[in-house]
Symmetry: C2
């Protein structure tokens, strides 16, 4: 799982970093794609290796796969892809082309009392409120050359995570899947 990996890495780091300094700026209105995924040179809280603005329209992207993460994450999640990413997945194209973007959305893992009541047994776990932020991987081999050509980002309540230690923890985990262009998630047919 691409962004599972990202989240899990962040979780490990989160446990190590005692003082968290998450930026509380409201999310800025996303500009054109080239701006949305670019480094913001005038903002010393940003880094050229990280995705600093939430990508518009991601909730409308097509589904790559789904997953359940256990432990502290305790979520149900969907991995979505923009058109470039979906086409690459379906064509089996590696490395992913420039412009491919993968998004991970997640919701609390909640037993469905209303379903279970109808079926008379513990049956369903469904998506509760959003949790664990929204994460992105953006393919730009020039801008993100030092992290396998991928920029990583996380947004909590629409606000970008800016803790560099946490963001820098993404790539070392993804590096384990260098042979498939650093992406965890397999396409679910």
């Amino acid at each position: 799982m691409i962004a599972c990996a990202l989240t899990a890495c962040l979780l490990v780091i989160r446990q190590k970093v005692e003082a968290q300094n998450c930026d509380s700026r409201p999310a800025e209105k996303a500009g054109p794609m080239t701006e949305a995924v670019g480094a913001k040179t005038g903002d010393n809280k940003s880094s050229p290796n990280f995705v600093t603005e939430i990508l518009p329209g991601y909730r409308d992207w097509r589904l790559i796969s789904v997953a359940h993460e256990e432990g502290n994450l305790n979520d149900l999640r969907a991995i979505l892809g923009n058109d470039v990413a979906i086409k690459a997945y379906r064509d089996g194209k590696l490395p992913f082309p420039e412009g491919a973007i993968i998004a991970r959305v997640a919701w609390s893992y909640v037993p469905s009392e209303e379903n279970n009541k109808i079926f008379g047994r513990a049956q369903s776990f469904v998506a509760g409120p959003p949790t664990n932020g929204v994460q992105f991987m953006v393919k730009d081999s020039t801008k993100y050359a030092s992290t396998g050509g991928w920029g990583f980002g996380q947004f909590d309540d629409g606000k970008p995570l800016t803790d560099k230690a946490m963001l820098q923890s993404c790539f070392p985990c993804h590096d384990a899947f260098k042979d498939r262009d650093f992406v965890f998630t397999h396409y679910a047919p």
Copy 2:
């Protein structure tokens, strides 16, 4: 969960119906929407209350929500909607408009050994091979008047389920949610 309900009902019925008579015809090439969801009067295995042809393009539809079903189902699933269904969900519009279609796809619930190895703990359950078929609810208040305006269908390996006892088990469960137009699944924001 809409189609969770459908699957679970079918499962209960499956356990009750000893002799299963699933049609093994190859899935026909889907025609225009009006044909794809219509009754096939020349086919005595079909019923006007059931969706008899798989709906083209459903895997490209946008995501409504995700779920995990336990027990014999043991899957991870995604509920997808066509444009009419997605708009109705986001607008909070009930009943769903004519033409709304909701699809349920599912994959085996599989622990991710490769993820767990990286994180050093049991962490991820991911989508394995497809399982439990693909299910649809199609809103057509005239054609499916006797089942709340919804036609139900299931396709296993692309082939329609034609066991009437099993298909007729869908609506009684969905009837529990009459106040939200017989649909189980809530939209995951």
